[in-house]
Amino acid sequence: MQCQVCQKKEATIHLTEITDGVRSEMHLCEQCAQEEGIAVKSQLSINELLSGLLSTQPSADEMFGDAEQEVSCPHCGFTLSQFTKEALLGCPYDYEVFEKSLLPLIEKAHDGKTVHRGKVPSKMPQDTKKQIKLTALRQQLEAAVQSEDYEQAANLRDEITQLE
């Protein structure tokens, strides 16, 4: 739903007013609501908070710096500008690839903490390289299936099974 005032942004504040038994509704975006003097008491969801944090930045360049802005993850093709839109990452390796840019966000979301303290899987991934390879192979497999190269696909599937 669009904001009634600016007609641009998504309306996130929904106000129902009943005056003398007459019910009226207002749907505003956060910014317009503030300008109308309506206190924002609602709790933002985590995703809204995150994308809010990101989108209120004047530009993604300023936020992330030029260097990583153009980088795409070699494992999943993900870029930071996609993250600003979706607030979700593309694959586990994004945490390494975009570490510098993500760290301030992680700190903010986790009350300043940046290092895991808690459960560790009994089966720690023994070999990170193995996983990188697996992701790559799965990507190739997908491409092979799409181009209907079933022989190649069968080979890749065998290779994946062996690695697994």
């Binding site: 009350d111 903490k113 940046t114 459960k119 899987p121 996983q131 697996l134 992701t135 697994e164």
Partner: protein
């Protein structure tokens, strides 16, 4: 297993028993996990999602939970059934109405569910009535270990369990406690509570109804921080500090109402009773709002030994109304949990059943047909009237 097997009654965790269950409805812990070697879901093709789904479903269905479990392909489940799962807090709204191949594994007694392909590959949750977080933590940890036997999780020594959203990394754990806080609301202290929780880095949401508004004075409190704190620390903080403190405030507010404004208290309860016993049309919002007052009244009687004129009347009324709440519109119940035998806690069960069974999807599944909002309001009012009038 059909959904109508469970839709006729309340979940076990909502039966009103369990520690501090007059104020703490339930305790829930969920863990977010992803399989190593796969991309996160937003980058996965339909085929990859199907692959992940099959892998996780096979593992989960082979585990021993001490209860019957069943699997539902959410994307192939009728819309009304999905609404039912959301109303029973078994899956999230996002999972119900998301995209692509996805599923859910549910234990018949509803203490455990596993969402496959929601925001992360796997989200498992354990739910119990009252304040029972340590028990939830112990159980979900065991289940997590069992699942891990068949799979390798995406994990980094520095960031812990890796999740699609950076807000869930670390333990991947979200602790949620559902609270009923009508007296804090009535005494005008709820804003203070909300502000304090925000300062403490906690998230507050409504439990029932659409969106995030806390309908019927039910609030869901959860941790936001999952990195840099251990599972045990978060659980202990909730169980030993945060929740007992809120319970104490709510009890103090109930006592304050009793000692300073007994007429306000009785007015709310009497009005709620009068409306619920006589209304022929009632929306789910209004029903939640009014039932909330009855729930508080009965709990004040049963747990605090309070007897004001309105509370006494309410309790005797519900005690004599028996199990009439089963008659109108309900499917013949095949559930092992029966609310019919007159026993301690029976009155609160009657009210809890009304909360659960008057939600839109429950109404429709239990009467076996789809109803528009106006007809739902009629049926809802009828069920409530017959439960409260005997």
């Amino acid at each position: 297993m059909k959904l109508t097997d469970i839709s006729g009654d309340i979940n076990e965790w909502f039966d009103g028993t369990g520690p501090l269950a007059d104020i703490v409805i339930s305790s829930r812990i969920r863990l977010a996990r992803n399989i190593a070697g796969y991309k996160f879901l937003s980058r996965c093709s339909v085929a990859e999602k199907g692959d992940i789904l099959k892998k996780l479903r096979d593992i989960l269905m082979s585990l021993e939970f001490g209860d019957k479990i069943f699997y539902l392909a959410v994307d192939k489940t009728p819309v009304l059934d999905r609404h039912l799962l959301v109303e029973r807090h078994l899956i999230s709204r996002n999972h119900a109405f998301g995209k692509g191949p996805r599923g859910v594994v549910i234990a018949q007694r509803e203490f455990f569910t596993a969402m496959i392909n929601e925001e992360d590959h796997l989200r498992i949750q354990v739910l119990r009535g009252g304040l029972q977080l340590s028990q939830c933590a112990e159980q979900i940890n065991r289940i997590d270990d069992m699942i891990e036997q068949g799979i390798e999780y995406a994990f980094s020594p520095r960031y812990g369990y890796l999740t699609a959203c950076p807000t869930n990394i670390g333990t991947g754990m979200r602790v949620s406690v559902m609270l009923h806080l009508p007296a804090l609301k009535m005494t005008g202290q709820i804003e203070k509570f909300l502000n304090a929780t925000r300062d403490a880095n906690l998230a507050v949401r409504g439990l029932f109804g659409e969106g995030t508004e806390a309908a019927g004075d039910f609030y869901q409190l959860s941790n936001q921080v999952s990195l840099g704190v251990s599972e045990a620390e978060v659980v202990a903080q909730f169980e030993n500090v945060i929740i007992p403190e809120i319970v104490e405030y709510e009890n103090a507010a109930r006592n304050q109402l009793l000692s300073k404004e007994p007429d306000v208290l009785d007015d709310k309860i009497s009005r709620a009773m009068a409306l619920l016993r006589n209304a022929h049309l009632i929306s789910s919002q209004e029903a939640l709002f009014l039932l909330s007052h009855l729930r508080m009244g009965i709990n004040m009687h049963e747990r605090m030994g309070v007897s004001t004129p309105a509370i006494t009347k309410l309790c005797s009324l519900i005690a004599t109304s028996g199990n009439a709440d089963k008659s109108a519109g309900s499917a013949p119940s095949t559930s092992p949990v029966q609310a019919s035998s007159p026993q301690a806690g029976h009155s609160i069960t009657t009210i809890n059943r009304l909360f659960m069974l008057t939600q839109p999807a429950h109404l429709q599944l239990n009467c076996g047909k789809t109803l528009d909002a106006a007809h739902r309001d009629i049926l809802r009012a009828k069920i409530i009237r017959s439960a409260l009038n005997g």
